[in-house]
Structure formats: C-alpha cells, structure tokens
Symmetry: none
Subunit: 133 residues, 4 copies
C-alpha cells in the first residue's frame, strides 16, 4: 500500500458513490490496519470516520470482506459477541490482496454512508484499482 | 443550534414527560454531536445522562431517528454489532434538520427514562420547536 | 440536588461568565457524580461538555474543589497518575455540601471554557446558590 | 470545511514535509472534530493516524494551537492531567478560523511524524490555504 494508490482508491470510491447517489466516507488501511488515507464527502454523516475505518480494520484483521463476517456475528455464530470501536461486521469492508488470489493481504478499503449495497459497490470500485498489482 | 433554543427544547421534552407520567433525561447536541444542554428530571434514572446523550449522538451521526436504526441493529441487520459508549439504537433520538427536508442536520435530541413510546413522544415534542428554523 | 436548583446554578454560572467575558460550559452532578443539568454557551468550545462534567465528577468523587487536587496530581503527589476521561484536576470543579461545613456532599458544579480563575469564579457563583440549603 | 479544500490542505502539508525531509501524517477535521481527510506519507510511522487526528481534535476542541496548550499541560499547569485517546498537547495541531480573527472555528489541521518544529511548519503550510475563506 502506498499513499498515491490509496488516494486513487479513495477517488474511485467517491466517484462510484456519486453514481450511486450516496454520500460516503472511505478509508484505506495498510496490512497493519492503520490508516493510509481517508476522505469524507461533503454532507456525509459524521458516523463515517469511525465506521469506514472500522470496516477497513475488520476486513484486514480477518482477511475477508465484512459482508462475509456478518453471518458469523449473529447469535450462535463463531464471531458472536465481537464488539468494540474497531469491529464492524456489515458490508463495505474489503481486503486488498496481491495477484493470484492466495496473495498476502496488503491492506483494506472501508466505506460507510450509503446503504450496504452502495457501500459494497464503492469499496469494490476502489479495490478494483488494486487488483493486478 | 444555540443554548436558548436548546433549553426550550429540553423544557418541552420535560413537559411532555410530565403529561406521559414518565421521568426522563433529555440531551440536545449540536451538528458535531457535542452536548449543548441536558436536563434530568427529579427521580429519573442515573442511566439517563449516558443514554440520552448517546441517543442524540447516534441520531446526529446517522442523520436518522434512532427508532429507525433499531431494526437495522438486530442480528443480520446492516448495523448489527454497532456498539460502544456513544451508540444507542432504540427510539428516543431525533435529528434536527433545517427547512425543506433536504436541509443540513443541525443537531439532535435524545430522551431516555420512559418506555420507548414515551421517549419518542418527548423527543418529538422537543423537535417540534426546532422545525421551521 | 434537584433539577430546578441545578438549572438556577447553571444560570448563575452563565451570568458570571458573561461578566467575566468568558464562554463556558457548566455541569451540575448529583452525589453519585451523574449529570443533572448541563449548559454550553453559544460559541463555547466543544471541549466543554467533557471537561465541565469531568471537573464536577472529580469534585464530588474527592469531596474537594478540583483546584485543591491539582497540587496532589503532580509527579510525586499522592494522586499522580490519576487520569482518564472523568478526572480533571484543574480548577473549576466545586463540591456542594449541606449546611454546617461538615455536611454531606450533595453534588458538584464543574465549569470549563474560561481560564482557571474565570472557571472557578463561575463555579463559585453557582455554588453560592446551594449554600444554606 | 469541505473535502476539496481539505485535500488541498493535506497536499500542502505533505509538500512542506518533503521540503523538511520529514515523513508525516496529516488530518483535517471539521468544527465538530470529525475527520474530513487524512493522508499518511509512505514510510511514516503507524502512530500518525491516531496522533495527527488527536492533535486536530484537540486544536478544534480548545480553539487554540496545540503548541500553546503544551505549557499548560505540564505538572501544575491548568490542563495538567488531560489525557485520553483524543488529547495531544504538543505542537502540530492548528485551528482554522474564519476571516476577521474573531471568526468561528471551522475545523483544524493536525500533523504528526516529524519533530515538533516540522509538524508545526507543515500544519501552518496547510492552514495558510484556509485563511481568507
């Protein structure tokens, strides 16, 4: 992960949000879950900084999209009870991996502000820039 | 948001609570979620200061009434797992918007102490004072 | 402590702040350290809600003015290391006691926003309303 | 505060850091202390996201540069003991005010990663873009 790529991923997420008619916050974190870049669109909710960063952290921490974690977090699921400032188990967090699928996780994107489908679409638009690197 | 209006909103919530036979705490926060005014009725629970302020914060952070967030916070819902000091997803938090529906969120009211229906009624009585401003 | 008295104490603090040319936040807590009333003047810093409430909590928790705690909190002092969201050991927190000096602590006032001298003056103006009750 | 301006302020801070030979993180927050934009230079410490955001929050919460808060935070000073996730009282946080000196605080910049002089220089380079707006 580097700042130049992180900025272009943020911009891609924001462009997708504009297409979706959503107002989002987008966070890019490195392999350690630490913020590299963050952008909040004008008019987007103040919940965004915490939630977008938490989704990105959660995705990189578990090496999977937060949308896939959601079913594990329901009562009886294996992540039930996980909570705290940095865990958000709803869609919009996407890990960034190297080429070949099995690659190392190099960071993650987190998007918050639209509905879950919109957040996921924005995160995936950003992640697409990372693929193949 | 200003103190004079915030105080009148608190008083309106307390008057409504008296009509309802409820003992409440009421918090008014600004657009950043920071407290402007707070009042706890005599005999109201000591949980009120934390819960009323958290409902107001949650409403302003998400730009929607906390009553609307409650169904999203159930297991499997898109806000499931949201937790922390400042999040309460049950009724009684109401955002305050400017004229015209599309207006900016200028703050929020949070009420805690009665049952959910009573908390919502008190918050709405307070919010009514803000409308049209 | 009751709401009606707490409100009058807040108003007394705000009036004193206006005389001082300060913009303050004022918190009144009960004997358990829980908020009864809070007011933030227009233009006062957003640090006020946390700091005024923390000063009031600290004053009631230690049964002494926060100004007197400050020297105990320096390195080597007996409260050195006390820290956290709810502890503030600078002037502006004043406990409220019953008649006769030895009386029970019934709550506290906390003021933040001016300089220390102003904060103390505002808190004492509010506390004066409580004396003799 | 808006995203376009916040991004240009981040870029100005990063350019100044390059001139200084420092590797920094820079955060821009709105008047409520909530993140609008954040950038971490390649190679900058992972402490940056927390510290830059905390400096920006502290500057906006207290309406003053964090460099001016530092002397107040020493043992015996009036802010001594202030602590927590969101408070950092060393140089590098600068509030952003409107025209005319008496203007409202509209947000803040926080920079972390260089030495204090470098952090302040980067924050001021960013703040210069805001002046006159």
């Amino acid at each position: 992960m580097n700042l130049e790529l992180a900025l272009r991923m943020c911009e891609a997420a924001v462009r997708q949000a504009a297409r979706e008619g959503a107002l989002i916050s987008v966070a890019v974190v490195d392999a350690g879950g630490h913020l590299v870049a963050f952008q909040r669109m004008d008019g987007a909710r103040i919940a965004g900084p915490a939630l977008a960063a938490a989704k990105a952290y959660t995705a990189v921490a578990h090496h999977m999209p937060t949308a896939d974690l959601a079913p594990l977090a329901v009562p009886g699921g294996e992540l039930y009870g996980l909570a705290g400032d940095r865990y958000v188990c709803s869609g919009g967090g996407v890990p960034l991996t190297g080429l070949g699928g099995e690659g190392q996780v190099r960071g993650a994107i987190g998007v918050s502000g639209g509905n879950v489908r919109q957040d996921v679409a924005c995160a995936e638009a950003a992640a697409a820039l990372h693929e193949g690197r």
